[in-house]
């Protein structure tokens, strides 16, 4: 399994043809207490760089962009009842959705952990 990161502070785990998407620890910390998460419908086609989900905190509502294109196969329903999971476990239990990878070449250009850490340190 490989984990990639975007400059919009999403992480993406790739296992075979399936990708799991969430927001990073840095992102949740910047947002503050998450109060609502709007997830894409299963079966929805998302397009790389376009909004796929919405995360709302006490400070602001923000779009979550699809890091790659594909079809949504599963959404993390646990976030509906307990959006705080994004705060307590952003990079594991607080995942947003899974999708089938449309085009593996889109993964090129995403950051690995080391590159993302360096990116965040610059901010």
């Amino acid at each position: 399994m490989a984990r990639y990161f975007t400059d919009e502070h999403e992480w993406i785990d790739v296992e075979g043809d399936t990708a799991t998407v969430g927001i990073t620890d840095y992102a949740q910390e910047q947002l503050g207490d998450i109060v609502f998460v709007e997830l894409p419908e299963v079966g929805a086609m998302v397009e790389k760089g376009k909004d796929a989900a919405v995360v709302e905190s006490v400070k602001a509502a923000s779009d979550v962009y699809a890091p790659i294109s594909g079809e949504v196969t599963e959404a993390n329903d646990a976030l509906e009842d307990d959006p705080a999971l994004v705060n307590t476990s952003p990079e594991e239990e607080g995942w947003f959705f899974k999708l089938t990878i449309g085009d593996k070449e889109e993964l090129e250009g995403l950051m690995d952990l080391k590159a993302y850490k360096a990116f965040v340190d610059e901010l």
Binding site: D33, V35, F36, K59, A60, A61, S62, P83, A84
Partner: protein
């Protein structure tokens, strides 16, 4: 005696509270002299009490409900008239209002509502009219709408105005529907609307509601729209650009004319969010900057009450290209000097006779003419100020905001302090705060100082944003007092003063759990005796 407030949380009333602050002896009632601790109406009342004398039910009278009468208690609060009056009067004393003090909410323009406006709006000829009255009996009211429309067109240098939208976002929708109608009329299926990152959230929301996809326009380091990036994105798919000017960083978009020219050249339209028009009224005419549609918040720029004090009103001024598509009904004066109300029945024949038949309205935004009560107030404001007075409004609003910016920039991160003078509002960030203190803690500290906090965490382009709009109605003495309080709380924030984390100390309620309130809101009264 039990304290009256059974369900609510209240400040500790003992000699010292949990933070060791001396407060004084506890009172049995929970009141602090004239600071009255007010329970919920459900906690005061008894279901059997009512402010109205209802006749006893005559058991012999025919029951015509057919068995549908309610058999369970309805659970309504029961209060006598004096209890009701006291309850709401007491609650109102815990409220903060523009009539109590400076209200520094950025982007909201919480300015004084002149009493002359109220006097005029209460004149029977304006206050007691009904939109379904025969037109011949409301000629004066139509005259007011038409006169106000004339002023708005003049002040903005535009071609027409739609008076009916009932608030800023409603006006945005009206403007975007005009743009859509104009594009559809020429068979142009453009799909994308561009909005700057610092836009009011309503801009992309409006574009989406009108059926468009939205994309961000990046800002330059100076806080203004990046003209080159915008130009690079323009093309045959861009229907419109929505720009706030002055923008939400409190800056005037100097490239506005160049932006408009580029958008027009690419075949799109320019929507301007006019929420901040108060900073430029009488100084700049948006029509000269190439704007095609702009809403004007009468409840901001033209001093009509808002924020719980009254309804908004968001007329939209339109360019010549968009005017034919504006909503019905509208008023128009004919050559004989009479102001007519143009509705569906009369629109076609009227526009043929007077405008050469080009009127092609997209429809209606509202059932009737718009916010008549706000029209009378706004026109009163304009006529009492005159054109020169309105210009001074803009000048004083900008002067006051700059006074605040320059009085705080040594203490607080002011990201665009080097971008030139600010317009109507000053923007700060939390970069210099010590410890883990945040903008929220500073805002709560301002409550203890007796001020409504400024706008916080908006615009999103600045970390921990604090947006302060003093408006022109504050005196220098009032600003100095506010600045002294703001500086003192900012100094505590910079020093990492942990006591700020507990603020407010002196409000009727201490810090509320906003997260819990958003995650698990309790929106209905649950009688603790029943659960």
């Amino acid at each position: 005696m039990n304290p009256p407030n059974k369900s609510g949380w209240k400040p500790a009333m003992n000699a010292t509270d949990q933070d060791g602050m001396h407060i004084g002896p506890a009172t049995v009632s929970g009141n602090r002299a004239l600071m009255l601790e007010e329970p919920l109406s459900f906690e005061i009342g008894h279901a059997e009490i009512t402010g109205v004398d209802l006749p006893e039910i005559d058991p012999a009278a025919a029951n015509r409900l057919g068995g549908l009468e309610r058999s369970d208690p309805i659970g309504l609060v029961g209060l006598s008239e004096p209890e009701t009056v006291r309850h709401y009067t007491r609650l109102s004393r815990q409220n903060y209002a523009i009539d109590l003090g400076l209200f520094p909410l950025g982007s909201c323009t919480m300015k004084h509502n002149p009493r002359l406006n109220e006097k005029v709006a209460r004149m029977p000829g304006f206050a007691d009219v009904h939109p379904l009255q025969p037109v011949d009996t409301v000629r004066g009211a139509l005259e007011v709408i038409n006169e106000l429309a004339h002023w708005l067109i003049d002040l903005t240098g535009m071609h027409g105005v739609a008076m009916s939208p009932k608030a800023g976002a409603h006006g945005e929708l009206c403007g975007m529907l005009c743009i859509r109608a104009a594009l559809e009329a020429r068979g142009d299926a453009r799909k994308v609307v561009l909005c700057p990152e610092s836009a009011h959230g309503t801009n992309p929301a409006t574009a989406a509601f009108a059926g468009y996809e939205t994309e961000d326009i990046p800002a330059g380091a100076d806080g203004r729209v990046d003209l080159e990036a915008l130009k690079a994105r323009l093309g045959p798919d861009v229907a419109a650009v929505m720009i706030t000017n002055p923008n939400t960083c409190g800056l005037f978009e100097r490239d506005m004319k160049a932006i408009s020219d580029a958008v027009h050249e690419a075949g799109g339209f320019v929507y301007c969010d006019g929420a901040n028009f108060n900073a430029i009224v009488g100084k700049v005419r948006p029509g000269d900057l190439g704007v095609d549609a702009m809403h004007i918040n009468l409840h901001k720029t033209f001093s009509t009450p808002h924020g719980g004090g009254g309804p908004g009103s968001g007329p939209v001024v339109l360019s010549e290209a968009l005017s034919p598509y504006g909503p019905l009904p509208y008023t128009a004066r004919t050559k004989d000097g009479v102001v007519h109300l143009i509705e569906e029945e009369s629109a076609e024949s009227f526009s043929e006779e007077h405008f050469g038949g080009v009127m092609d309205s997209f429809g209606r935004m509202t059932a009737f003419h718009g916010q008549m009560g706000m029209f009378t107030r706004a026109l009163t404001y304009m006529l009492s100020h005159g054109a020169d007075g309105l210009r001074q409004v803009a000048e004083d609003a900008v002067l006051n905001a700059n006074y605040i910016l320059r009085s705080l920039e040594d203490l607080l991160h002011a990201p665009y302090a080097d971008s030139g003078p600010c317009m109507h509002e000053a923007l700060f960030g939390d970069k210099d705060f010590g410890g883990d203190l945040s903008t929220l803690d500073l805002a709560k500290g301002m409550i203890d100082e007796g001020y409504h906090p400024m706008t916080v965490f908006f615009p999103l382009v600045v970390h921990g944003a604090m947006l302060v709009e003093p408006t022109e109605t504050e005196s220098k003495a009032a600003l100095d007092q506010f600045i002294a309080s703001f500086r003192s709380v900012a100094e505590r924030a910079n020093a990492g003063d942990e006591s700020l984390k507990q603020a407010p100390y002196y409000a009727p309620r201490r810090r509320l759990d906003e997260t819990q309130a958003a995650r698990k809101p309790v929106l209905a009264w649950n009688d603790p005796n029943l659960t």
